[in-house]
Point group: none
Chain length 209, copies 4
């Protein structure tokens, strides 16, 4: 089994400091990448927005691409964290799923720009790190698969085991849809209406007799 994270070498020894500085880098780079894109953002800009010099930036990363990896990893982590925070495991699987869906769509809404960023710049990730980023996403899908299986076991959800993954994928995609197509969707729906409608669509699939 592969590592969860790719280790990026640093010239600095103190791990605490590395983490602190990399947090600064990510925070600065996210904003820059969102507004200008990865390629149009310069390392100088990243350093400046991070609050230190270009030389210092390169004490904590090896290349500009490393910054993109740190950024993508951090965004995925945040999505996952926010989602997990919102989960309650009170009630049966169906009930949990409803809450999880609501939470997930809301997180997608709040993190719109960040999620979009990941999809647009994936190709620029340092070779070898793409798999790390994809694994993050499977992690999130795993959350929903788990919930679905909980529901199957407690009898609140009716779905064939072999369709669990597609179901979970559908959930992720409907969440991403709100991210990708918001310019079109927001003309006709508020977030809450969207949540309600898509939840109904998904539940019809899994609660039928």
């Amino acid at each position: 089994m592969l590592e969860k994270k790719k280790k990026i070498p640093s010239l600095v020894k103190d791990p605490k400091l590395i983490e602190k500085r990399r947090d600064q880098i990510v925070e600065a780079a996210v904003e820059l990448f969102i507004h200008k894109g990865f390629h149009k953002t310069t390392t100088r800009e990243i350093a400046k927005a991070s609050g230190f010099s270009i030389g210092t930036l390169y004490e904590y990363i090896e290349s500009k691409e490393d910054v993109l990896y740190l950024v993508c990893d951090a965004i995925h982590a945040e999505v996952e964290n926010r989602l997990r925070e919102a989960l309650t495991f009170n009630g049966n699987g169906l009930r949990i799923l409803k809450m999880a869906l609501r939470s997930f769509f809301r997180v997608m809404d709040q993190m719109n720009d960040r999620v979009l960023l990941i999809y647009q710049e994936t190709k620029s990730l340092p070779s070898g790190t793409i798999s790390y980023v994809l694994r993050r996403e499977e992690e999130i899908r795993g959350i929903f698969e788990e919930i679905l299986r909980t529901g199957i076991q407690d009898g609140s959800i009716h779905i064939d085991e072999k369709h669990v993954q597609l179901m979970a994928d559908n959930i992720l995609v409907l969440g991403e849809m709100w991210v990708f197509r918001r310019w079109a969707l927001r003309k006709h729906y508020t977030l809450e209406e969207y949540i309600e409608k898509q939840t109904a669509l998904l539940l019809r699939e899994i609660t039928e007799k």
Copy 2:
């Protein structure tokens, strides 16, 4: 009402030649952009792959970004054309919709890389052309809205008029899902299985009593 296309100025006068050369450019650039991404592809590579010199390339475009616009426009046009070709208007709305869904998913499958390209490089489009590209997509959604309305009128589809757009959006997104998440989906489904499953999901929504 806005124009359908943006006119890109050319130093060459013969419109036939312009079209021919731009076709060459698009064909070459699509492959390059898919494999290397827009930013990592150089204008020299585009020229060489197109079969002429860098000077000639710039007789037909004004900037590298213009190539991206031509590429995105051509891909959308191809999606739309392939979809329209596959449409038969025999039978009622529901029947047409089924066939359209099958065709659409197949086109998405065949044009996987190209569709992915559009989503990843949209941000790099020359300012002002993004709206032209988005309009292309609405065109495709319009096809499905039309089919849905046909079905509503002939009684084969039951859906509230105000949800027609969301329905159409869902269709597009499920198509794009096959593009974006194929690496995960193909582990468990063939294209045909995916089509069947997702069609069933969508139809449950619109054919219910």
Copy 3:
């Protein structure tokens, strides 16, 4: 003794046509060079403004620099022609000189931009043609030298022969001064005031007891 003009080879045989086309070229190029400068004007622009294609342009010249030579030569010729046209050889040398000065300053005023052009782009002339252009200027100085000598002989002008050339040079320079420094001079003098003042200055030198 050298030729008066440099022969520029042409692919076209008919001398009449060559002259006609080169007149078109010069007329177009003068305006372009004045407004944009020689280097910032493209051969395409020259061809277009001349009323024919870039290919045709190169039937009548061998290089862009040739156009500059044609332009400079034409401007000098025009200065000389206008000056000669205005000359009357009635009266004594002093009288003729006064009229010649007046005419010269007026020509400089009217041809301001063109004269400025020559001075600014001389360095870009094709190597070997600079001498042709300078000779043109000596021609004009020769006119004044001749007038001065006429005056010396008829006794209306008192000046040592060895200062005739400096005197003629001074005249040319005071004319060019109106060209080069008009932005400053025009704040305080009209052309006529300038002519009067500078003529007085020059005459004091040559009419003194």
Copy 4:
């Protein structure tokens, strides 16, 4: 009141270093511009002649045109400095004027190529800096105006106040004449002869009864 100089932004922070490097740039560029002209000199040549890389060059300027501005500004400054150094304020206005004229003509002679350069490349100056360069020239004219007024007040120079500016302009032009027409003038005069002759011409104007 406008600033005396245009501030050119630099990526380097240390002002001392900026000044040092820009001095290197100017020194190198002056020679190149004199021999090849501004347009035929490449930025790489400037960098190389300055003793550093093209990247370093662009740490101290924003564009090639900036180099031209720095060059023109430096030349004007040098003219002014050399002239001021040579001025002694012993004696009456007339005496001072004579010395100033001698100094000015000598400076023009020594800086021949440089002064020529300014006149030939003015058109290529970055838009907005021309006024800065012109102001430099007025500064020099101001020196002569001041001397003339000193002479008027102490009674050694007789000239109407309203002709002070034209007089000063004439002085500048006679200086520039030695620059522009030296190829012709040097056939007949040494610098010292020229100074003597032109001084006599000017003084006749202002010392007459």
